[in-house]
Each structure stands twice: as C-alpha cells, then as structure tokens.
C-alpha cells in the first residue's frame, strides 16, 4: 500500500495487466518515448518495449481502427486519445465499427479494446481539451463507458475494462489526475463494470455523480442526509442501485459536468420516472454544465457545476 495519484494508479493497472497478459498492447500519440501528454504511460516503453507500447501517427481514425483490427485478431489493445475532444476524430471507427463488431460478426468476434482518454474541465485548456462527451458514447449500442473518480477505483476499473471482451471507453478525470492521493493496494484487483458504489449512506436525498464531479457532490452534501452514489460505469449503469436508493430517500439530485441537454442525467431521471415515480417526494434535479462550448480560464468556473449550485439543488429538493 501507498498513497498514489489517479495517474499513478492507471499506470499501475496498465503495467500489471501487461505483465499478466502479453496480449495487452498500448498504442497512441506520444505514449511511448514521451510517456503520454499526462505521463500516464510513463516508464512502460522501457518496461515492455516498442512492440507493446507503440507511438502512432497523429491519426485518431487509424488508431481506433487499428485497435479494432487488433481486437478482432485476439489482442487486447489499449489506445490512448490525448483529450476527449480529440476522440471526435475517431468516432467513425468507434461508432460504425468497434461498437458493432460483436453484433456484425454475430458473436464470432468480440472487440476487447479500451480507449483511454482524459475528460473534463479544470486543466486550464480550451474547448476540445475539456469535453465531457459521455452521452454520445452511452447512446451508441455496443459500447461500455466507465469514469473513475479515485485512484482506487481507477485502477480496479481499468483492469476490468482491459479484461472485458467489449469496447470500453475509459474516461479519466483530468482535473483530478494528480489532485487526489489515496491508498491503493499494490496487488492486482478488479472492480466489476456495471456496478455503482455507495460512497455514503443516507436517508433523505439520493445524490448521483461520477468522475471529478463526485468530489464536488460529496463536499456539497455536508449538512444534508445524502446517500451518495458513484456511478463509475456510465453504460450500462447500475439501475438497481439508483432505484433502490430513490425508493428509500424519495429525492434525487444528479450532478454531472456535461451539458444538461441530453446529458446522462436525463436518462437517470427518466429511469426513475418510469420505475419509481410514486416514491418521489420532490422533483428530480440535475446540476450540470450549460449549453455552451467548454471555455478556458476564468470561465471554466462559470461552466462547471460549483459546490454552491449543488447545495442549492439539495436545499430545493428538501423543500418538499
């Protein structure tokens, strides 16, 4: 055990899985020699060599498409795309092919690949460096989407993502890459996909969040009797954990960084409306990003849900 950052935890997960399974291969721009833009793959080239830690051209479509071919072959490629906004260049391969390999081959092939990408606001970089585009991916059948929030779950979830037989988009919360240090077991462990974590039990409000926003939600919950759910896997998400909690608390607040319009919060709210409407005591509230292009510098704070905004929502649902 030792206290490490999310960056280090991801690095550990990659190194452990590569040591365990020689079919795990990394590819991406600047991931080898340079160790990645955020140094997540630092030291792995030296450890595993250029056949398994491969620098690629600046070609997101080819990175994603090549990873698909490798996955179909039977390897377990882990591709890094430098920023979530840069994954838009790879979408054709991800949406039209990776998501459909299992279906298109009628189960003869699976697509055991991971695309790792830093997401979210807070690194003082402009649009496309700070996107939260999970909804796009969640909407496409055939893709799994994961967003860790701590060093501990970053390691365990990435290990599961690498071992998973389908394509997983692994969204790394860039703003807290190094902001949190926590104890992480040095041994190999997997946290199952599709399961949420109850971070704190409570009776009056169910507070659902993930990734970097989870920490703001937790901070905002002080003084409220919140049951805090870290969703962790965004697709397919743990419906039962949310419903069970809402049936108990009767109130639901969802916090995410992505634009509110068609954000994942809408799906969660709709689920509760369909399955647990008569348990609700208050309207479901979403604290989310505005309909705006992600900004840089001072406007970042305006964009991103603040602790005060989350507290307002918690106060509002408690009026009922």
């Amino acid at each position: 055990m030792g206290k490490i950052t999310i960056v280090k935890a991801i690095n550990q997960a990659l190194a452990e899985e590569m040591a365990r399974d020689e079919d795990v291969v990394l590819l991406g721009e600047d991931i080898g020699q340079d160790g990645g833009v955020f140094r997540v793959t630092d030291g792995l080239l030296e450890k595993f060599g250029p056949q398994r830690v491969m620098d690629t051209p600046l070609a997101e479509l080819a990175i994603a498409g090549t990873a698909i071919g490798m996955a179909v072959y039977g390897l377990r490629p882990v591709a890094e795309i430098q920023f979530m906004g840069f994954t838009y260049g790879a979408l054709e391969q991800v949406f039209s092919h990776a998501s459909r390999i299992r279906s298109r081959s009628r189960g003869r092939f699976t697509c055991p690949m991971v695309i790792r990408t830093p997401y979210g606001i807070g690194i003082k970089a402009p649009e496309l460096h700070s996107e939260s585009a999970e909804s796009l991916y969640c909407h496409m059948p055939g893709i799994k989407v994961v967003a860790p929030s701590t060093p501990y779950n970053a390691k365990g979830l990435l290990i599961s993502a690498i071992r998973d037989d389908d394509m997983v988009l692994f969204m790394e919360p860039a703003s807290i890459y190094r902001a949190i240090k926590a104890e992480v077991p040095t041994e190999n462990y997997a946290i199952p996909l599709g399961k949420a974590a109850i971070m704190q039990e409570g009776d009056e409000i169910t507070l659902v969040s993930w990734g970097a926003m989870l920490h703001k939600a937790m901070e905002a919950s002080e003084g409220f009797d919140c049951e805090i759910i870290d969703l962790m896997t965004l697709k397919p998400f743990d419906e039962e954990a949310i419903l069970e909690s809402v049936r108990k608390t009767g109130r639901l607040v969802i916090v995410h960084e992505a634009t509110k319009n068609c954000g994942l919060g809408a799906e969660i709210a709709a689920l509760v409306a369909e399955e647990a409407l008569f348990y609700l005591k208050a309207p479901v509230l979403r604290v989310a990003g505005p309909e705006a292009v992600t900004p840089m510098a001072s406007l970042e704070d305006e964009y991103v849900p603040k602790v005060a905004r989350i507290r307002e929502a918690l106060k509002d649902v408690m009026k009922y």
Binding site: Q51, L61, T66, G69, H97
Partner: protein, 337 residues
C-alpha cells in the same frame, strides 16, 4: 481511364503460371459472374431482403488477388464484396441465405449483402462504410507482426475510399511500421454516380504510394493474369516483412451502383462506356485466351458452367428452406455484462 481496347494476355505469363492456377482463376471468376447473374435474375421477385451491390465486370480482381492468399490470411472487403467473399472461400449457401434474410446466412440473416463474414476463411466482415474496413486490416497486420504468424492481411476498397481520410491515415501507419498488408483499390472510376475526375485532384491512385515510401502498382483490373502477378509480388513482399503495397486495378462495374439494373438509361453513365467495357469482359477474354492458346481443353472449359449452376441451385434451395430469425435475435450479440 485505360485506353486499352482489348484484354491482352502475354503468352509468356500464361506459360509461366501453372495450368491448375489458370483454371482456378477462370473458375473463380465464372463462379462470381454466375452468382451475380443469378441475383440479377431473382432480385425482381423481391424475396431478397437487402440492397445488393453487384461486381459484374470486376471479377478478375477478387480472383487474381485471392488466388495468392492462404486460408488463414485475413481479408477485409466492402459493400461490393460478393466476389471477394467467393474468391476467399465463403460458400454460396451462406451468402444466398443471408440475402434472403435467413438464420443460416453468414450474418444470421441480420446483415444482408453488405455484411459478408466467414471467420473460418479469414473473412473478417464488411460494412456499408466506404473505407471503414481499411484500418482493421492494418490492425490485423500489426497483430501478425507482433505475433510473428506470417499471415498477410488484404483489404479491398474502391476509388471512392481513396477520397476518404482514413485511407491515408491507415496506409501511412502500415508503411511506417512495414506491416504485412496489401491494399487493393478497385478503381471502377465511379463512386455511386460521381466520376473519379470530378472527385480527385490527380487520378493516379497507385502513384500516391510513393509519398508513403511504399510500392504502388497500377494494373489492368480486367486482366486476371496481371492482377494475379501484381498480387503475387505484393503478398510475397508483405509475407517476407517488406511492408505494404498499394495495387490499383482499373475496371468497370457493369450494373448501377446498387441493384440489378444498368444505369446508363438514367444518365449516370453512357451506354458507349458500358459497351466499351463489356468488350473488355474479364471472364470471356480470359476464357478465349485459355481456349485459343490450347492451355485448357475445350472439354474441360465447357464442363465448368454446369458444375456452377448445380452449386447455385443447391445454395438457393438451402437458402429458401432456411428459417427467418426469431424476434429475440434482435437482442443478441450486443455486448456481455
């Protein structure tokens, strides 16, 4: 566009290639031709449940390339892929069953003509996205390099895919890493109804390979021997670690972009152009060369069509007797949790 008015087979080439190989090239082309013509015949019945993109006129490329491949070499095709599939070894039974939307089809009746797959023959699957399969071949090629399995990956695409950025990203990556991939561009001069010259600044596809430090060859795609020889060179280079090649094979599709009809009546292309290319028929001209050159006896050649007609009849009867998918099939093979 090619100005050659005939398909000329060099006597030296015909002498250098074993008779068995020449006969197989011919038989494969004829199997593709008769398969496609059977679709033309039956499509108006409206029992085939999918759009079909026919490759009549282009058979020599699939036959000539795939004759150089082993069963476990990989092949990625595209929306106009019946010929590639047949040449690489998929059975007509699972193709027809697929087109009729039956569970015994290669895609369990859920994919149709654009979704040809047979993993036992190294056929990795195709889709409607022009150029979409190109990087997959780079991925299997990269994997073959890592695992040192000596397999070659071949990807077929059209001149339309040469418009797409993914070609350049993929070809560069393959050449940079010297991957065992053969890129085969079937240049039939049209992407749907748009002429190559209205889409491409330079119509020299093969020459572009030089910019990536890889060999590019432009061959007459209606001459199965030329295609076979070029592919032989490219496959050997790939298998021996020499990296990728780009083969541009010029050809012409006789039918419209999609469906069983010709398209000159709609004004998409001219009748003169079609007549010119029909005279350059890859199948008939090769048969003539085999017959007149005394390479294969008339008796042997005359017996081939009947065997194919029997194969077609059996495949069709298999397809039509097979069941349709049940509603539950909609939910299969998405992902596992």
């Amino acid at each position: 566009m090619s100005t050659k008015s005939d398909v000329n087979f060099s006597p030296e080439d015909l002498a250098a290639i074993p008779q068995k190989a020449l006969l197989e090239l011919y038989t494969t082309m004829l199997r593709i031709r008769l398969f496609e013509e059977k679709i033309v015949e039956l499509y108006p019945e409206q029992e085939m449940k999918c759009p079909v993109h026919l490759c009549i006129g282009q058979e020599a490329i699939a036959a000539g390339v795939c004759r150089n491949l082993k069963k476990d070499d990989y092949m990625v095709s595209n929306h106009r892929g019946h010929g590639h599939g047949i040449a690489k070894g998929i059975s007509m039974k699972v193709l027809f069953a697929e087109f009729y939307g039956r569970t015994t089809g290669c895609s369990k009746g859920k994919g149709g003509s654009m979704h040809i797959i047979d993993t036992s023959q190294g056929i990795l699957g195709t889709s409607a996205i022009v150029g979409g399969g190109i990087p997959m071949a780079v991925g299997t090629g990269l994997s073959s390099r890592i695992k040192k399995d000596k397999r070659v990956s071949v990807v077929f695409f059209g001149d339309g895919a040469f418009d797409e950025g993914v070609f350049y990203e993929s070809f560069n990556f393959a050449s940079l890493k010297k991957l065992p991939v053969v890129f085969v561009c079937e240049n039939n001069f049209y992407a749907t109804n748009s002429r190559q010259s209205s889409r491409q600044s330079s119509c020299e596809i093969a020459n572009s390979a030089r910019a990536f430090g890889a060999p590019g060859m432009c061959v007459d795609g209606n001459n199965v021997v030329e295609v076979y020889k070029a592919a032989d060179q490219a496959v050997k280079l790939a298998r021996s670690g020499g990296g990728p090649s780009l083969i541009e094979a010029t050809t012409y599709r006789w039918k419209g972009h999609v469906g069983p009809d010709v398209d000159y009546e709609k004004g998409a292309r001219t009748e003169e152009e079609l007549i010119y290319w029909m005279k350059r028929c890859p199948v008939k001209n090769f048969e003539k060369a085999l017959r007149e050159g005394g390479i294969v006896t008339g008796e042997t050649l005359d017996a081939i069509p009947q065997a194919i007609f029997t194969e077609l009849d059996e495949a069709l009867s298999f397809a039509i007797k097979s069941p349709y998918p049940k509603p539950e099939a909609l939910y299969e093979d998405l992902y596992n949790i």
